[in-house]
């Protein structure tokens, strides 16, 4: 544990500094957390990030608009479709074009499937952190179905690069609708199973209720978005506020929590999965016919200017700020990653809790270090 | 059959070792452990006499002694922790002030 280890004996000192990570099973990758402890109680924390920094934004300045698209898949690697969606829509906005309806419908379906997949990964690992080892196998089983749909659609499972600027590269495959419908039908039952395992479980309640509370004001002040903001009781969702893709066409509810604790965040995400499934079912019934690609030139050369476009990624507001100097390469790309901003709430949440709760709180934040560090 | 005197002498040796420990060691924890040795020496005596006299009283008193030992260990170690917290030492000869 070296210089950041427990600096003094367990009993003699009032304050000890405990270092968690970057090699730690519960920090979901390479997050390093320095905890200041009073006994077992956390009185302060510091997140040290950057272990997974790959300079994605800088790479963007040296690639053409088209070439950069696969790179954004690798920021939040468990929700690659959503990342791609945000990027291609930002570039489309910069170009002043819009994808054809069929493409927008398919984009919505895939993005919502990705939301479910991302939440499933979160649910499994969160439960595992709290010590329930079984849910992770169930959630990965369902995620596998989603990944199979992705694979059939575009040949890749994880870093999909599913969309192209101006629409879709591929027409949907035969039986796509059937696959998606079958998945949604099964999934409704499966969500019930997870809830049965966890929602009413006394131990789960004791471990999550009143842990990591975030008041609405704190959540807004810290810039939290996504399920974390909504669990604190703020009804804010980009899909409703600034609809993109085809979201204004479908009916869905935005679940909000009351207490802003870990349990509410759990409930909100569970409900979001159900709502996502609802959106998918509506969309898949009404995919319009027509082309999947808008007419854009071979060379993407947007006019000089800048654009900010954000979408509701599974983890919160995912924004792309792109500055164009009129060349074939962006002048500057800036990604507003939800995980990075949400991670700021960690210190507020964790103060006054025990070390064991730190694990639960890291889990409930649903951070992806690839996105935090970019 | 082992004569009672054997047990008594064994207990006396154990007792003496305990006394030496109490008197010579600096580390308070080991002093407390030496007290346990002394108490055990007493218990051996009690049980040995109990057997010789066919009386259950020795057993009962041995149980009381064990109770006492448990209480003594709890309080002693409690004091020790408080001491360590305040003075950062558990050495008997460094704790030589009546008040601080």
């Amino acid at each position: 544990m070296g210089e950041f280890g427990i600096t003094q004996t367990v009993l003699g000192a009032d304050e000890i500094v405990l270092n968690m990570g970057p090699q730690h099973p519960a920090t979901h990758g390479v997050l390093r957390v320095k905890l200041k402890l009073d006994g077992e109680k956390v009185i302060g924390s510091e997140c040290i990030i950057g272990y997974l920094h790959r300079g994605v934004e800088k790479i963007g300045e040296n690639r053409s608009y088209m070439q950069f698209a696969p790179y954004v898949d690798r920021t939040d690697y468990v929700a690659a479709v959503s990342n791609g969606l945000g990027y291609v829509e930002a570039v489309e906005k910069l170009l002043g074009i819009e994808a054809p309806p069929r493409a927008r419908w398919v984009r919505t379906i895939l993005a919502e499937l990705q939301r479910i997949a991302s939440h499933l990964v979160w649910l499994g690992t969160h439960a595992l952190d709290i010590g329930a080892m079984t849910p992770v196998f169930y959630t990965f089983r369902e995620r596998e179905e989603i990944l199979k749909i992705f694979e059939r659609y575009c040949g890749a499972r994880l870093t999909t690069h599913a969309f192209r600027i101006g629409g879709l590269q591929y027409e949907i495959y035969d039986g796509f609708e059937e696959d998606v419908k079958t998945f949604c039908r099964d999934f409704a039952k499966r969500v019930g199973e997870y809830e049965e395992l966890l929602t009413g479980n006394r131990i789960w309640l004791q471990r999550t209720k009143k842990v990591g509370v975030l008041t609405p004001q704190q959540a807004i002040d810290l810039g939290a978005t996504g399920p974390i903001l909504r669990a604190s009781g703020v009804k804010w969702d980009i899909r409703k506020a600034f609809p993109y893709a085809a979201y204004e066409q479908f009916e869905f509810d935005i679940p909000v929590g009351e207490n802003g604790d870990t349990f509410d965040r759990y409930l909100v995400r569970m409900e979001e999965m159900r709502q996502a499934s609802r959106i998918i079912l509506q969309a898949v019934e009404s995919i319009p016919s027509g082309p999947v690609m808008a007419r854009i030139g071979k060379m993407i050369k947007p006019p000089p200017g800048e654009v900010y476009h954000s979408i509701e990624a599974p983890k919160g507001e995912l924004g792309y700020y792109i500055v164009s100097d009129g060349s074939t390469q962006p002048y500057r790309v800036r990604i507003r990653p939800p995980s990075f901003v949400n991670l700021q709430t960690f210190d507020t949440m964790v103060r006054g809790h025990l070390v064991a709760d730190v694990v639960a709180i890291i889990g409930t934040l649903d951070i992806i270090l690839g996105e935090v560090d970019r | 059959m082992i004569p009672t005197s054997h047990y008594l002498f064994l207990a006396a040796v154990l007792f003496t070792i305990g006394v030496i420990g109490v008197l010579t060691r600096r580390n308070l924890i080991i002093v407390l452990m030496s007290i346990e040795l002394i108490l055990n020496a007493v218990n051996i005596n009690l049980i040995a006499f109990s057997r010789q006299l066919a009386s259950v009283g020795g057993h009962v008193f041995a149980i009381f002694v064990i109770t006492d030992a448990a209480a003594e260990a709890a309080v002693g170690l409690g004091i020790l922790i408080a001491l360590f917290r305040n003075r950062d030492t558990i050495n008997a000869d460094e704790i030589d002030l009546l008040k601080w």
Binding site: E40, L128, I130, G131, A132, M133, T134, L197, A356 | -
Partner: protein, 417 residues
């Protein structure tokens, strides 16, 4: 020489029993790990170990070989002797306790008049293996894991002790054999007289063996692996063995105290005498399974192993058809069946529950289990007095006591939330 034989003679039979029990136990421990992996896999829509032998049946042997051949690492600046000694203490303590377990009337290694006290005492010595191992590793994770473990074991031992006391009140003996015989003569297992005590014992034994949901000492997401973080190879295998053997041991204690030990279900009802043939059915079923599997697989070696197993099981079946053998194995069969039921419960829990936090665990132990256990002992005593001195019928008198305990438990729970 003759003197030596005379001296050793009374111990000869005991020695044989010790050896037999040790070998069988080691086998059960190895296959318990296998069973855990298989059952967990079943619960988690996986298939578990499949590669070594048919259905992975030889996996435990491969695991043991692997652990034995691994490098035995001693951390730098560790207290070497204590580090090497600690796992041995753990294993010896828990195996020594088995000397007092009455597997069957014809298979008791030794019966002492303070049996259960000794059993609890000896098995609690295993705690030294944990605390010394954690300390000697010279690692903070190990140390914290060991401290947690120790605090947990000490806390739950109290509740466990009180739960045992209420069974002892009913049996009015400390001898393990006597406890089972008391249940035989009453014609009722103590679990039906003291269900609350049984539940407390079950919960406390889960905590005693560091199993989920009380597996904090090994909380992977917080403390890596607890006190045995620094152990590898053979010494890790010893800890592993001690842990699983402790699981079997607490199951044995619960079986003896509450589930009638070696007694068959409905032992005193002639209508259910057909249950005596269950061992034959089980062995025959095992044979059938092996044969079916052997026919299904195309793999030569697997077929060979399965055939061997089938032959073994068939041999067992034929052997059991001899009435004398059947009668002799009855006790052990039912005892092990109940123990396995318990072990299945342990594994099932592990697949189902999240983990408690340390303060919650302590609160459950001290604020709930111990008070309820104490109240239960008092009410059990009241029930016995009602029966002996006020001529109440036996079972209702004790049930009144249980209802009182439940009331207290509900009050305690209500106050907490």
């Amino acid at each position: 020489m003759a003197q030596l034989v005379d001296l050793l003679h009374p111990y000869l039979l005991a020695t044989i029993r010790v050896v037999v029990a040790f070998v069988i136990l080691s086998l059960i421990v190895a296959y318990l790990a296998y069973a855990e992996r298989k059952i967990l896999a079943k619960l988690q829509v996986r298939i578990g170990p499949m590669r070594v032998g048919p259905h992975g049946l030889l996996q435990p042997i491969a695991d043991v070989l692997k652990l034995l051949l691994k490098e035995d690492v001693v951390p730098a600046e560790a207290d070497k002797i204590v580090f090497l000694l600690a796992p041995i203490i753990s294993v010896v303590a828990v195996f020594a306790a088995f000397a007092l377990v009455p597997f069957a009337p014809n298979f008791i290694i030794t019966d002492v008049n303070v049996g259960i006290l000794f059993l609890v005492g000896v098995s609690s010595l295993g705690i030294f293996g944990i605390i010394l191992g954690g300390w000697a590793s010279n690692s903070h994770y190990s140390l914290l894991g060991a401290l947690r473990s120790t605090a947990q074991l000490v806390s739950y031992e109290v509740a466990l002790g009180f739960a045992i006391v209420s069974a002892l009140l009913l049996a009015s003996t400390l001898s393990m054999r006597g406890i089972v015989e008391a249940q035989a003569s009453r014609g009722i297992w103590f679990v039906f007289l003291q269900p609350v005590a049984f539940c407390i014992l079950f919960i406390a034994s889960i905590a005693e063996t560091n199993r989920n949901p009380f597996d904090l000492p090994e909380a992977e997401s917080e403390l890596v692996a607890g006190f045995h973080t620094e152990y590898s190879g053979f010494r890790f295998a010893l800890y592993f063995m001690a842990e699983y053997t402790a699981m079997i041991l607490v199951s044995c204690i619960a079986t003896v105290l509450f589930l009638g030990g070696w007694l068959r279900p409905f032992a005193n009802t002639a209508t259910f005498d057909f249950l005596d043939y269950t061992p034959i059915v089980v062995c025959a079923a095992a044979t059938a399974w092996c044969v079916v599997e052997a026919l299904r697989t195309n793999w030569r070696t697997q077929q060979f192993v399965l055939t061997l197993l089938a032959l073994g099981a068939a041999g067992m079946t034929l052997l059991l058809l001899v009435p004398a053998v059947l009668a002799a194995t009855q006790g052990v069969f039912w005892f092990l069946a109940k123990v396995f039921l318990f072990l299945f419960g342990f594994i099932w829990f592990r697949g189902t529950f999240p983990r408690y936090r340390f303060d919650q665990l302590m609160r459950i132990g001290w604020h709930f289990l111990i008070p309820v256990a104490i109240v239960n002992v008092i009410f059990c005593g009241i029930g016995l007095v009602l029966w002996q001195q006020h001529d109440w019928p036996y079972v209702p008198a004790l049930w009144v006591g249980n209802l009182g305990t439940l009331l207290v438990a509900v009050l305690l729970l209500g106050r907490r939330s």
